[in-house]
């Protein structure tokens, strides 16, 4: 249920810009594997306590990594299958660097190019 804390950050950001923002796209990076059902429930509950309305849609962005040793671009299909490791990455996506390796050269020094975790695209007046 730590999705609740992330949903709060989305609502607070929208609240801070409520005079200008009219549409928001919440983007879930697949690396963090946010539970969409829990997040959406939390978002609705928190927004119900606010006095502004914003059109919100949720989209997903696939995680993409670039090895900083050999330059290989890779994705989560070549990542961990271990449930505990997945759970740890869910809580702290940077832990991907502990559990994942470049499929080509096996280095752990890679960059998360896309799809890390939560981000927000806003349409503003």
């Amino acid at each position: 249920m730590h999705e609740w804390a992330l949903a709060e950050s989305v609502v607070k950001t929208l609240k801070n810009r409520k005079k200008t923002v009219f549409e928001a796209e919440v983007i879930f990076g697949t690396l963090q594997d946010i539970d969409e059902e829990i997040f959406t429930f939390a978002l609705k509950e928190i927004l119900n306590q606010e006095d502004f309305k914003v059109k919100i849609k949720i989209t997903k962005e696939d995680a993409v990594f670039e090895c900083l040793s050999c330059g290989k671009i890779f994705d989560l299909k070549e990542g961990t299958k271990d449930e505990i490791e997945k759970e740890n990455i869910h809580f702290l996506p940077e832990m991907a660097k502990v559990f994942l390796k470049c499929p080509s050269c096996k280095a752990k020094d890679f960059e998360i190019k896309k799809g890390r975790g939560l981000s927000l695209k806003l349409k503003e007046k």
Binding site: N16, I89, F91, S119, K121
Partner: protein
Amino acid sequence: MNIIDPRPSVISQRFSQVKNIIAVTGFKGGVGKSGVSCALALALTEKGFKTGLFDLDFSGASDHLILGSGKVFPREEKGLLPPYVHGIKFMTASYFSSDKAIALRGSSVSSAIKELFTVTIWGELDYLIFDMPPGVGDAAFEVMNLIPSAIILPVQTPCSLSAKVMERSLEIYKEGKFKVLKTVQNMAVSKEKGFYHQIFYDKKWPKAAGKADKLIKTSFYADTFGLAGKLVKESSL
């Protein structure tokens, strides 16, 4: 369309019920920041204060080993609730690393700190101790940007090199308008003036690591207990 990281918007709220945040900082590795941080958290707890400890030294995380925290894990409830370890609310990235090495580049350190600042629910605390990594790097800049109320408590050893490196680095905090306390001299071998507090070298301390019942019987802990008393006076609690 602007792409925004929403996490920083709630960070000040997460610390709103924390009365004092003390960032234990040293500018060379091995000066004993983690030992001082853990002993300070234990001492403040013993004095009856609600205390938290956050190990921000991700790559050198050791507070869980010093405290012997065992297999505790944060509980999920509208965020992550840090587990109690010897009465201290304790957060560390080592919960999520399966005890493997955490090697992160600077941008990842910043993002990981923001994530844990966003999702950790500290609740009411009298004192929250940050165990900072050595030097003024990404973790320090994140703390400076996100937690401007943090009080900087520098730690050095009698080694003149550690003192010189620290003098330079403290300027950065002072320029940032942080409250910077006088230095704690750790591993002291003789009484000297000019320090906020001295913690004398205690060969029993490293051997007691991992066993809180033994840690609190060391002279290192007794000295740190004195430091805790000064900090309490300083913060008027």
